[in-house]
């Protein structure tokens, strides 16, 4: 294990922990459900990406690398679908969002 790769991987894992923590704090701090969805998104995306990449750098070229990549792919494919499904269910249930001002449109 080269020293540079080692340092890089720890930077990745540290960054991942930082973003996961941000997600956790946001989950507690944000005022309503829809805003919390965004906070949860941080953990699901960059948090996991960085932590898993850090682990990948620790692994080197072997089968486990492929496994880590697959875990990451699964996470990245499933988390938006799950997040969208939760938000849609809440919306259809009539859960109001705290918004001010008008809706933004592209027209």
């Amino acid at each position: 294990m080269g020293g540079v790769v080692d340092i890089l991987s720890w930077i990745c894992i540290g960054g991942g922990l930082f973003f996961s923590l941000m997600g956790g704090i946001g989950l507690l701090r944000f005022p309503d459900f829809y805003a919390r969805c965004h906070a949860a998104g941080i953990t699901d995306t960059l948090g996991s990406i960085l932590i898993l990449s850090g682990l990948m750098l620790q692994t080197g070229i072997e089968l486990n690398l492929a496994r880590l990549i697959l875990i990451l792919l699964f996470l990245l494919f499933t988390s938006p679908v799950a997040g969208h499904a939760i938000a849609r269910a809440a919306h259809q249930h009539g859960l109001e969002a705290q918004v001010d001002g008008e809706d933004v449109t592209d027209a």
Binding site: M22, I25, G41, I42, L46, G83, H84, A87
Partner: protein, 156 residues
């Protein structure tokens, strides 16, 4: 038929990755399970261009890194907002310009995957998106991501 073959190959590659042990007996189990899965998928009629979009695999090579960079930027932005508490949530109603349902789904998922924006509803070609701040919403409505996904869709 082409899809069935590529599905079989993909499943077997996946099996080889997960197994890590390549004696004759265990590999033959793997072959048997792959054949069973493909047969079941065939019976369920899910081997089509939506369930197995192999034609988009190449296009993702350029789209993936771009999306990743957007995710990184959005993460930093939302993390700042978590710390400062500077949020101003609003709804965004936009049209998805993609032609196929698959393209629209990719667009909607890309929006959700980027923190700060969550697709709440996708009906027809209309998207209802919740954004964490008005600026983020206006940025999304300018449609940089939408045109990227349209290009991806057109590459097949």
């Amino acid at each position: 038929m082409k899809k069935t073959v590529s599905l079989t190959l993909m499943l077997f590659a996946l099996w080889l990755l997960w197994s890590g042990i390549y004696t004759f007996m265990i590999t033959s189990f793997g072959v048997a399970s792959v054949i069973l899965c493909v047969w079941l998928a065939h019976r369920m009629n899910i081997v089509d261009s939506e369930g197995h979009p192999a034609h988009l695999a190449l296009a993702h090579i350029t789209y993936g890194p771009w999306l990743l960079w957007q995710i990184v930027l959005a993460n930093i932005d939302v993390s700042k907002r978590v710390l400062s508490g500077n949020i101003n949530p609003c709804w965004v109603r936009i049209k998805a310009p993609q032609k196929t349902p698959l393209g629209r789904v990719i667009y909607a998922n890309s929006i959700t995957l980027t923190p700060g924006t969550t697709t709440v509803q996708l009906s027809g070609d209309e998207l209802l998106v919740h954004t964490i701040h008005r600026e983020v919403g206006e940025d999304l409505a300018r449609g940089a991501m939408a045109s990227r996904v349209s290009k991806l869709e057109g590459q097949d």
